[in-house]
Symmetry: C2
Subunit: 138 residues, 2 copies
DNA sequence: ATTTTATATGCTTGAAATCGCATATAAGCA
DNA sequence: TGCTTATATGCGATTTCAAGCATATAAAAT
């Protein structure tokens, strides 16, 4: 598949568009657990969809210790970078706005601009990947 | 599915993107058989994909006698109209040029700006919907 | 070293999308 | 009316895709 079709296909999924939205609204690197908390979806889903977005050339990943941060691919063509910027400004539907709000709350937990906690309560339970640390916070 | 995801999904298919490209490059109404000849794909495929694009709110159809013409949906939001325009300019620089060239050849067969023939030779054979009129031209 | 935590991935299942073919519908024409 | 042509659509077969669950990997912490 050529690149444009691949990019559209990647964005043609509700969850992946929500993920892209998170990055478009904040314009910085976001780590996986932060997205898990923002969208309240199981961790494996987030991971898989991020992989698809990455393979489409929309995102890049970089590991920092245990955490993996994703950002918009800054090596993609100017056209697609601009396109995504403009798209970000037009995702005004409530769902997208809510996601972004929840992400901002979650980002408040950072220290020195770094993510320092995994996913928390509600999502953790849903994931059954609930950590002991998160359990204590219940 | 929300609208943006729906539109992206529709464009996330090679054939449908090629169809959209035809309309973007010529910026006028194109009828089904002309697209069949431009893309050299079976008529039923073209029809089905056009329906999907129409349902996504990207295209509009209008029948004129036996022929059905498709055009970009001019009732869609300003954002999506602009977006498609910009996309068209981008696709022009990439592949998709051959399709557009073939379409232009095909459009040369029009009379008074109207399509007056069905699909012709090569494509017609592939379709097994070969008309007697087209057969004579072989 | 062992355990804990963050992230990724293999596998199965069900749903959805696509294709190919046949045929239906709609409209013009003899 | 009956035939021809343009377009659409129903259906079965095949493929693609996402969800769900379990588990693997990678890196820290104890």
């Amino acid at each position: 598949m050529n690149k444009p079709a691949k990019i559209f296909k990647a964005l043609g999924d509700e969850t992946r568009l929500r993920l892209a939205n998170l990055l478009l609204q904040t314009d910085r690197e976001i780590c996986v657990c932060e997205m898990v908390d923002a969208l309240e979806l199981p961790q494996y889903q987030i991971s898989k969809h991020l992989t698809i977005l990455k393979n489409a050339g929309i995102l890049q990943a970089s590991r920092k210790g245990t955490w993996v941060y994703y950002r918009l691919d800054d090596e993609s063509s100017p056209f697609w970078r601009d396109f995504l910027k403009v798209l970000g400004r037009h995702l005004k539907q409530q769902a997208f706005v809510d996601d972004a709000a929840k992400l901002r709350q979650r980002l408040a937990l950072r220290q020195n601009g770094q993510c320092v906690v995994g996913f928390v309560a509600a999502t953790a339970i849903k994931n059954k990947f609930r950590t002991k640390k998160a359990a204590k916070n219940l």
